[in-house]
C-alpha cells in the first residue's frame, strides 16, 4: 500500500479516513472532476445518492447529465452504456445488487465482452459496471448472491473485487481508466466495516495484481472481498498455535495474479482457498489449476477449498451457515497441516 503511494506522483497528497463506500464515492467524484467523458448511470443513484449512498452528493455537484437516474432496467443500463462507450463516453453503470444483474447478462456476455474482438479493435467498450454483492447483512432474497465466477468465465471482461477502502478507490479508478470493460464487485458487508487512510486525490491500484496482506511461512490462504477478514481472523487464531499463515488478497479475479500465488505457495508449500461463492464452478477451482500449473511439486498436501455450498444463497435466517466462517477456515487449514 505504502509502496504504491511512493510510486505514484501524488505521494504527498492528503489522506482522509474513509469507509469503503466513502472511498468509492470519493473515487467517482475524483474521476468525474478529472474526465468529462465519465458519466454515471443506474437506478436511484442520482437524487437518492444510491441505496448504499455510494453516489451521495454527486448529483448535486455534477448534475443530471452526468449522474443519471435511469428507468428500472438492467439490460437497458448496460445496453445503452455499450452505445455510449463506443461513441466517446466512459459510462460507470451501477447495478443495484449483483443478484439483479441477470437481465443484463445477455448484454454483458454477448456484447460488452466481445465487441473489441468482433470488430478487430475498431469498437471498444471502456465501461465500468459496479455491483454490490455478498451475504451477511440480513438483506431480502436475491440480494446476497456472490456469482463472480459467471463473469470471470466471460472472455473479454476484467473483474476486480476490493476488500477495503484504499483498494476500492484505487481499483475503481484503474477500472475507469482501463481501455476494456471492468466489473467492480463491492462487498456489502465491507462497505462500512472498516476505515482506512485514503488519498483524496487520484491514484490507481493496478488491475491484475494481488496483495500480500499478511506474511507467513506455513500455509497460504487465498481469498478476496469479505473473505479477507475471515481469513485474517483464522490466521490470528492459528498464530496462537504457532502456525504462521500467509494471506493473499487476490483483488483482481480476472486476470488473476499467478505470480503472487505461485511465489507464496512455493514458499509455504500449502494452500487454502476461501470464497463465498458456490463450490462447483467457483473461482477456487481456477486457483487450484494455477497452483497445479506453477507449483505442483512444491506442495506437501492437497489444496483445501472453503466455499459457499452448492445451494442458492438462503434467506437470511440461514445465511451465516452458507458463507464460510472462521471455524470452517481453521478446519480447512488444519486438514492441510495434518495431511
Amino acid at each position: 500500500m505504502a509502496m504504491e503511494l511512493k510510486e505514484s506522483s501524488h505521494s504527498k497528497q492528503t489522506t482522509e479516513l474513509m469507509t469503503m463506500v466513502q472511498a468509492i464515492n470519493n473515487g467517482l467524484r475524483t474521476m468525474l472532476e478529472e474526465d468529462e467523458r465519465i458519466i454515471l448511470l443506474g437506478e436511484d443513484i442520482g437524487k437518492n445518492g444510491g441505496v448504499f449512498r455510494a453516489t451521495e452528493g454527486l448529483y448535486d455537484v455534477f448534475g443530471d447529465n452526468r449522474v443519471i437516474d435511469t428507468p428500472l432496467s438492467e439490460a437497458g443500463i448496460i445496453g445503452t452504456s455499450i452505445g455510449l462507450s463506443v461513441n466517446g463516453f466512459r459510462p460507470v453503470a451501477e447495478i443495484q445488487f449483483l443478484g439483479f444483474i441477470y437481465p443484463a447478462y445477455e448484454q454483458i456476455m454477448t456484447h460488452v465482452s466481445r465487441i473489441r474482438m468482433r470488430t478487430m479493435g475498431h469498437f471498444t467498450v471502456p465501461m465500468v459496471i459496479r455491483a454490490p454483492y455478498g451475504a451477511g447483512i440480513r438483506a431480502p432474497d436475491i440480494h446476497s448472491d456472490s456469482t463472480e465466477a459467471l463473469f470471470t468465465h466471460m472472455p473479454g471482461l476484467k473483474v476486480v473485487c476490493p476488500s477495503g477502502p484504499y483498494d476500492a478507490k484505487g481499483l475503481l479508478i484503474a477500472a475507469m481508466e482501463d481501455p476494456d470493460p471492468v466489473l467492480v464487485l463491492e462487498n456489502m458487508r465491507s462497505y462500512r466495516a472498516q476505515r482506512e487512510e485514503v488519498p483524496v486525490g487520484k491514484y490507481a491500484v493496478e488491475i491484475g495484481k494481488g496483495k500480500l496482506v499478511r506474511e507467513g511461512t506455513d500455509i497460504t490462504i487465498i481469498a478476496w472481498g469479505a473473505m479477507i477478514a475471515i481469513a485474517e481472523k483464522a490466521a490470528d487464531h492459528m498464530e496462537k498455535k504457532g502456525v504462521l499463515c500467509e494471506v493473499i488478497d487476490l483483488r483482481t479475479l480476472y486476470p488473476i495474479d499467478r505470480e503472487i500465488i505461485a511465489e507464496s505457495v512455493q514458499k509455504t508449500t500449502r494452500a487454502v482457498i476461501v470464497h463465498e461463492a458456490h463450490s462447483t464452478g467457483g473461482l477456487g477451482n481456477d486457483i487450484v489449476s494455477i497452483i497445479n500449473d506453477t507449483s505442483f511439486l512444491y506442495l506437501r498436501a492437497p489444496i483445501e477449498r472453503v466455499t459457499g455450498f452448492d445451494v442458492p444463497v438462503p434467506l437470511f435466517a440461514l445465511e451465516d451457515h452458507y458463507t464460510p466462517t472462521v471455524a470452517r477456515v481453521i478446519e480447512g487449514i488444519e486438514r492441510v497441516l495434518d495431511f
Partner: protein, 351 residues
Amino acid sequence: MEQDYPIKRIIDNEGFLLDSSYESQISEKLAKEFYYHMVRVRTFDRKAINLQRQGRLGTYAPFEGQEASQVGSALALESADWIFPTYRDHGATLTFGADMVRTYLYWNGRVEGCVPPEGKNIFPPAVPIATQIPHAVGAAWAEKMKGTTNSAITYFGDGATSEGDFHEGLNFASVFKVPVVFFNQNNGYAISVPLDRQMNSATIAQKSIAYGIPGVRIDGNDCFAVYFETKKAFEHARSGKGPTLIEAVTWRTGAHTTADDPTKYRSDDEGKDFVDPIDRLEMFMKNYGYWDDEWASGIREKTDLEIEAAVEAMESFPAAEVRDLFNNVFENMPTQLIEQKDIYLAHLRRV
C-alpha cells in the same frame, strides 16, 4: 392519452357514489368486507414496520396507501385462481388467504414464509422486478390448456414496466389469448425514481394498445372501482378473450423499504391530494348509513388480536434447521451435495 384512459372512479374522495349504476351492486356486506380486510392488512403492515424498528424483523417493504388496490383486486379472485405477487403485495396475498404467521416469517429470512397454505396458488414474492409477469402468463396458459376457467393475476409496480419481462409477458399473453390479469399498481415511485423519469408515456394503461389487449385505468384508492374492474378483467379472461392490463393509480405513502429514506428524493407536498383509501371507505359507509361504531371497533379489536397472535407464533416458531440449507435444492440430492451437507453437519457438531 390521458383522455383516452380516464381514471375510473365509483366513489369520490368524500365517499359519495359517482356512478349510480353500481348502487345495487354495493351492499353493506360488501362495504364491510372491504373495510375489514383493509384494516386487517394495514394493521399487519404497520406492525411489520414496528417489528423491524425493534429489531424483531428484517428489512420490510410497506404497502400503506395501496390497500384498496390490493384488497379490492384480491377479492375479485376465485379461490382456485393463481396469484403472482411482488414483495409489496401482502395486502393482496393475505386477503386471498396467505398465512399471516408465514408472511411475517418471510421477512425474518425464513424460507417457510414462501410456502403457501395447501390448495392456495400463491407464488412467493418476486424480488427482482417484473420476473413474475411471465410466470403468471404460464400458469394461466396451463389453465387454458387444461380447459378450466381458472385464471391468474400478477401484481407489479410502475418501475416493472421498464423491464423486458413486462413486454415479454404481455406479448405472450396476447398472442396466446391467455386468461391472465396484469394488475399494475402505479404508486408514483420506483424507490426514488418518479413516474415521469420511468417512462415518457402519460399512462401505463395505454401500453395495452401495443399488445392489442384491453387496458383500463382506475383509481387505485377506490376499492369499489378496483373490485369491479378487476372482476370485469377476470370475466374477460374466463370467457376466453385473453388478458387485460389494469393500471391502478395509487400512492406509496411511506418509504420503499425500512432501509429507505424518502426525504432524500420526495418533497413533503407530494401526495398531499392523496385521500387514504380506508378513510374514504369510512366516509362512504357513513354517507350511506352502513357505518356502525361498535362494529368498527370490534373489527379493530379482532384484527389486533389476530396480529398479536401471529407475531407471537412467528417469534415462537421453531428455529431454522440447517438441513434446510441443502434440502429441496433437488428432489434427489446429488452425491456431491450430500457430501457437502454431511461435512458441514459434522463440522457443526465439532465446533
